[in-house]
Symmetry: C2
Subunit: 238 residues, 2 copies
């Protein structure tokens, strides 16, 4: 996943131009005027928990920017096997370059707010702003790198290591958003974590319990405190 920010997270309950002033934000080369114009092309949409933003196979008419909450992106097979390809946090952009149909689905984990811009309007907006395309390319490059990381985890890490790496990178992302990570909030369900890491719910529970017994973490309701976690994945610092 790992996209950059389009608008400042929580500060964006209402459309206001200075929200983009965030350092490193998406389309960071956009001026306030540009940004106001861009946002005016779309609309603010609220989703309830578990509600679907878009479904794989459906025509991709809009692109999305998470404003509030947590969105999970996943690919689902006919037989209900599900692989969560990533979690999107406020500031993350979804489906910005999708042509034709969505290749993945997206659903809100909890209540979420999303800014949705019709694809054709966005394309028109970008067409006379060359720097926008460059930003998108950089965004997608980061997403590809992130996908490679996840492929490595899924293919070459054991359950425990996958979990630890996931927890650490999740903490890093929240830190970048300026969130409190002590203890680390885990708004997604065990099933979501399992479907993200290519494991079963039971293995996730058991592995977390094992880490807790070892003193590496502390399991709290909806949260996990990371204690001595780095020592567990010593060889995996690449």
């Amino acid at each position: 996943m790992r996209m950059t920010k389009l608008m400042a997270a929580s500060s964006f309950a209402a459309p206001c131009a200075n929200a983009v002033a965030q350092p490193g934000g998406f389309l960071s080369h956009l001026g306030p005027a540009d940004l106001r114009q861009l946002m005016a092309l779309g609309e603010r949409v609220s989703y309830a928990a578990q509600e679907v933003l878009f479904t794989q196979g459906a025509p991709a008419g809009k692109c999305f920017s998470v404003v509030e909450g947590l969105v999970c992106l996943h690919r689902t097979e006919l037989d209900n096997r599900r692989q969560i390809t990533g979690f999107a946090l406020p500031g993350d952009i979804l489906q910005i370059a999708t042509q034709g149909d969505h290749e993945i689905s997206a659903a809100a984990i909890g209540p979420a707010v999303v800014w949705e811009i019709p694809r054709d309007k966005f394309a028109q907006f970008a067409s006379h702003r060359p720097y926008v395309l460059s930003e998108i390319v950089a965004l997608m490059a980061a997403e590809i790198t992130d996908a490679h990381d996840k492929m490595f985890s899924l293919g070459r890490r054991a359950a425990e290591e996958r979990l630890v790496v996931f927890l650490m990178s999740w903490r890093d992302r929240l830190l970048q958003l300026g969130r409190d990570v002590e203890p680390l909030p885990l708004p997604m369900s065990r099933r979501d974590i399992a479907d993200h890491l290519g494991l079963t719910v039971e293995t996730v529970c058991r592995t977390l319990a094992k880490l807790e017994r070892r003193g590496a973490i502390q399991i709290l309701p909806g949260r996990i405190r990371l204690l001595d976690i780095k020592s567990v994945v010593a060889p995996a610092l690449a």
Copy 2:
């Protein structure tokens, strides 16, 4: 992986402009003049088997287009665990949007020919050709979709299904290049396949042998004949 063609595969032993006439080719909106100019910015480089094109962590000064042969892209951990993120065939573009350092390594599987263009020159070339960036975005979107497919396989498919899906998609790619796929050539080693599918060499061998005993495939030196393979993955047609 799954990138589009920059130049026609084998027809490109020497730089010639009409090589891009391939339908659906990379930068398909480029005219012959543009293309000649683009290629003149780079050079043709030959690699011996196993030779390294670039290494993860090293500064990404060039982008690459495979002209001949097969290149494997992989991410390697300190402890020699390796995840092959994809195989690049003639026409595939590598590292076109990488900023900073390479996030993956690339090595020739057999003898290979690659066109290499310095990043800054390419950027300059693209800077006054807006349509080039659009093509790159489309290219990267396809790569992301492909990465999602692979994440699903690694996370949610058993060894046999991974192998079968891999064989089928490999055949499809060769077919798109107009190659003979009967029987299907497998130029990469068993270890490469294992490192691509998140398995061990032994599991790859055993699973292939099992498929052969079942009459789904026929194992030949360097090749595999696909017989009744689709029936094996009936539920996996998503």
